[in-house]
Symmetry: C2
Subunit: 211 residues, 2 copies
Amino acid sequence: MTIRLYCFGESGNAYKAALTLELSGLEWEPVYVDFFHGETRTPEYRALNPMGEVPVMVDGDLTLTQSGVIQDYVVGRSGKLGWRDEAERREILRWVLFDNHKNSGVGGPVRFNMNFLPEDKRNDDVNAYLVARHGSAMKVLDGCLEGRDWLVGNGPTIADIANCGYLFYPEPFGFDRTAYPNIDAWLDRIAGLPGWKHPYDLMPGSPADRA
Amino acid sequence: MTIRLYCFGESGNAYKAALTLELSGLEWEPVYVDFFHGETRTPEYRALNPMGEVPVMVDGDLTLTQSGVIQDYVVGRSGKLGWRDEAERREILRWVLFDNHKNSGVGGPVRFNMNFLPEDKRNDDVNAYLVARHGSAMKVLDGCLEGRDWLVGNGPTIADIANCGYLFYPEPFGFDRTAYPNIDAWLDRIAGLPGWKHPYDLMPGSPADRA
């Protein structure tokens, strides 16, 4: 049975799961979630995911939420994008947690605030705070990519896919990849993987659809 | 050899690792990190952890960072506080990621801003934004604890320890446990576990030491 992923194009958290599925070679299809009309706040959606977030993955009887859990599952099911030993497994987990805490966990909200909130609800102080915090995370990421092609081991893993979750989007959120040469080259490397797609090409929904 | 944990009392992220070690029964000892005098920004500390964060765990030749990775390691080494099967393993990972993204990842910074930043660097708009975000996460956590003693399975796991990371601290950060009856009862349950200790009793360093 084809795996279904509840997602929408604007969500970098969904993109992490979608890109992992796509690059793993598993059969999957997106199910569009109408986030901008409040679908994730409906009782039906909360029954699917009490955390009220995308992505949600359904594979037969199994329903999983949290992008990092879905990534872990896809590694197990496909044998791709994962670890060769316990040390690599832990190192990948380290980067997935870093992404949730400091990278996507901050970059995602500030991109939302700066681009998708009504203008009268935007707050410059809040956004400056988040941009600075995300910038610190980018500095760490850029430093750790020095002399490396991929975050863990010698090839792409879910650690790379997690951390690039919000970094291909065109909307401004204080992140300029050209300011971070190692990130810039690493994003090119990810975009060069066979089967790679931009979030707006991989998942349904984009600002253009709502314009 | 005794496991060493680089930590300080005020860090809920360190508390997650310290409490996991303590409740697992493994031998460990804290190594005080003088965060408030900039130790995590020194070249020596960055060599230990390029992410510049506490906690860091050293067990013989093995150095691990990120509280969730250390928790995962302690489960493997002690056989305690973990999962009985793959489904529980994934469910625990889901809650550890939720904590990093929405709970400790937001509650930690706002507690820092409201209590440990110099008064002239505090920003009410930023703190109100973070308090509201953390409140949404607390609503989800409280809802998911309805009718349950523990987040996953029938006993305490690292999922519970991750999510309580910042919730025992006395400093105000917009979180009032009495507003969330299920969280309130669950925190009492955690505090009732044999060997439980408050962060300021488990790790060196507290605001009282600096007063």
